[in-house]
Symmetry: D2
Subunit: 307 residues, 4 copies
């Protein structure tokens, strides 16, 4: 046979799963959108049309729902680890399994409420939630049979941030193709996404880490709340953000950060000098397309045995 | 000629406009996505291919940018009113103009920062912002030449909320087509959108009103943070929300609220009783499609001269 | 009570329905995405939390599936008319019902196949289909109890067309806000959507009419395949298209056509004259936003008793 | 320094480019949405905030437009190869460049036109086009400095196909998690995407190859137009499609095909037996989520020197 099967797999995407913990009046929830993919040891369902090794993808979904009910859900990474462990234990011919989980950004509704003494207090609601999609949290967990430990990657998408000063872009190459001049002070805006792989997952608080990374990226971008911080290029900002995460989280092995550069073009007031004389530092035209794209990945050097 | 022109208009959609006020280190921003449509007194560009009455839609966009730079931007409603007034004054043959403005939900980045005395304070950033799309704010403003005042409608979209108890749906019609039984306690989730028309716009704080409406809808849905509130049907919840807004905002004439009913189906554990015996009150399957849809519009009775 | 309920309704959106006719080896299919909304004679589910009049929206969906199975499906308009008739007959307190149906653009897969005599013929497949979304077909059908006949509107969305010549835009107003010069020959591109209401639906072949309208819009836009036709403005093109449809389909009462004007900006080669001297008539930058928008609605004058 | 830069790059995404060839009345067009990413030999713009090595991403876009005008555009693969060659030649410190180009599916408008002899002929329009997005064509071309040849991958997305019979799914594992029974005859529907890498690009007609692959996937799925072909599982169908492509195109080295399995659930008529007695083989409920996912990659064994 002249070909090798060099890639294969199957599973289920778009599995929606909602879990509520109703122990007492204070309810806690998780809503996930899950992809699960597995690889089997043989190929006969491909090459011979013989399905006897197939674990139905509906069964994989049922397994998730059943284990979610049985053991509860702590967060996406731990849920994925539980499902992966159970699947590898139960099905000996599954040689690899990966799960990708996006979490829905539900937050408790906050409300002011009068207290008996007449004052007002801000309460978190016991059982009502609002969708607050400032950034999407997701994870990707992969385990191959025989590996000593799973690969756990956490990430965020859609962190859209903007600053109105302290961003220059100067001294790049000027030649016959370049039309952009040096800029001393531009609007910088990005829709950041980042992902980091754990060197060790023992005793990790994945939720806290996620919040740390998100806040670090925003803080490195914006700088001090009063004085800001200067960005010389999106490359520089990406690099400093990733470096800061690795400095702060020693159990993280690798991090990648992608920063698109959403352009805000200065509105050209030259044709309108009789109406609005002088320079324009107020009105900009945000551009959806095209947009710059910059990414940086840093890896910790001293990783022993990390694959 | 056997036909009447019973509708016509033209304009520009998808106008992106960003404005920054840089008076001092504390910058303020607005980002809009704008539609502007106008109607002319004659039809000859349609019927005769004679374009001499056309105000180019690029000119409309330029006018916005120029006036935005000249006078600054206070918010979408006031900006629309300014543009509409100028357009009707400048172009005598424009008989109607409407503007639809969506605002981008930029919020200042908040950061903890050490104070000189060693304590920590939470600061709002002077010039860095984060996109927080919990609900989209928009407005629609329309003015016909000769009208005594413009029609101003404010609205929100995408307020996604969920509660895990205090929602029943019972005593509806049961017949040969119905398969859903009475439900005592279900998960209720909606992606609310609402719009309200002003009876009067004098001295209105549009931003504050918008926040009031958004909070009222969330509060009517969730109820008391500890005890919640019972919903007997989405219809009931929609009605009570609108009524509350009209009670609170006497200068609002009409409000419409649309509440889709995003279904969360109980995961059927009957096939898995050996694994997870008993009832399931933990795991639900969120359904994207289909979804229920309910809307209610209330109008104030005592509106004199309101069209 | 200080308010009137001036609008209300409920129903189900996003109902996916697939029907296959398997009489013989030649299968025929319909796939719909349906919205159904109804209004009841009373309001007590809103004002009192009393649900006894509610026809559950799941029941409405079941009714559709059951009738679809029983009577088959001829097309979206006729299916909507059947469901509407049944609903009004069965539920005496339903005072209005509307349905919006989008159809999925499945077409038979075509294949060349060798014939016994050695020649090749192009066959339509008996039971395999491909999604060909050149334009989306939809309809909106509304019936109020007591009306003599339903309102039937058919429409299309997403007909994206472009021509590379025979489009000018000249002699419009030039003033202090205009920056666009007269253009003799530009690229014209639009994503057309249109809708038409029937004066009479007796013996109408809705599918054939839909294809006629789609083809008329494309033909009026493009003109003769060799020589084309001149467009003096998008307004003119919209008007001529609608007029042609009303000329061709006497049982159509009203038609609206919306033509966004997707801009293709000439790439400015002035900074690159040493590399590419002379004018540029080859490279354009398509712009997603903003885009012009033009619409025209024509109504037949001699409509007796049409509401 | 405790970290390595293990990944980096930058460029421009969402570059829209339209090219028209107007030599004579028969115009030809290309519309692309382009991503271009490059890697530089050094890192100082990341580590030191020193930008002197940066080729501005606007300059990359200008280079594309200028070369597109100068040399014309034959297709996405050849355009990418031209841009990549020029960039590597001009900028000696660019060590890698990749381009991803999506093409817009413009087709000539076809029209029937009367001939002088009174008969009718179907013409392709000289300069008017319609968007026919049955499947999206794209390519990915990558070149590292020093490599003997570029990596060229062509692909398609969004080929949505469905068949109403000749699909079974049987004999898979049945255990405590499985709820799906064996199915003899189901509706099979997928939104196929595929990508193939060339072993050699000499004298390749990329457009013809793309059409061959698309047609092969549709043909393997649907089978004979009269009799069809039996699918025992999506795995089997994916495998046979890829195998057929490699059989037909000897200059293709590797191909991957991903076939989501869009579920069409039989509408359960058991509660409605009084209305529609017997089995239901007509009405199905299409499900958007979740959906199965299957992929297969085959590689030619005898590839000498292929990296």
């Amino acid at each position: 046979f002249p070909y090798d099967i060099t890639g294969k797999g199957y599973g289920k995407d778009g599995i929606k799963l909602f879990h509520v913990n109703r122990d007492g009046p204070y309810h806690s929830i998780h809503e996930f959108d899950i992809k699960v993919h597995i690889k089997l040891s043989g190929n006969k369902e491909y090459t011979e049309g013989e399905n006897s090794a197939i674990v139905d993808s509906d069964a994989l979904r049922n397994l998730m729902c059943v284990l979610g009910k049985k053991h509860g859900i702590e967060g996406p990474e731990k849920f994925a680890l539980m499902i992966i462990k159970e699947t590898l234990e139960k099905y000996a011919h599954v040689v690899e399994i990966s799960m990708n989980i996006e979490t829905y950004p539900w937050q408790r509704i906050r409300q002011d409420k009068a207290k008996p003494d007449g004052s007002t207090e801000n309460y978190e609601h016991n059982h009502a939630f609002v969708f607050a999609p400032t950034a999407l949290r997701y994870c990707e967990v992969i385990m191959k049979r025989g590996d000593s430990k799973p690969t756990v990657i956490s990430g965020f998408k859609g962190l859209r941030i903007l600053k109105t000063t302290k961003s220059s872009f100067k001294h790049f190459i000027k030649d016959e193709y370049s039309t952009t001049p040096d800029i001393n002070d531009r609007i910088l805006s990005t829709i950041a996404e980042g992902a980091w792989e754990y060197a060790s997952i023992e005793n990790v608080d994945f939720k806290k880490d996620w919040e740390t990374v998100r806040d670090t990226v925003a803080k490195t971008f914006g700088g001090d709340p009063v004085h800001g911080t200067t960005s010389t290029a999106t490359q520089r900002t990406a690099y400093l953000s990733v470096k800061q995460v690795l400095d702060d989280l020693p159990h993280v092995a690798i991090m990648t950060l992608t920063l698109p550069n959403r352009h805000y073009n200065n509105f050209d007031t030259r044709p309108f000098q009789s109406l609005v004389p002088g320079e324009n530092n107020e009105v900009y035209i945000p551009l959806d397309k095209p947009y710059g794209i910059v990414y940086a990945e840093l890896s910790r050097k001293d990783l022993q045995g990390h694959n």
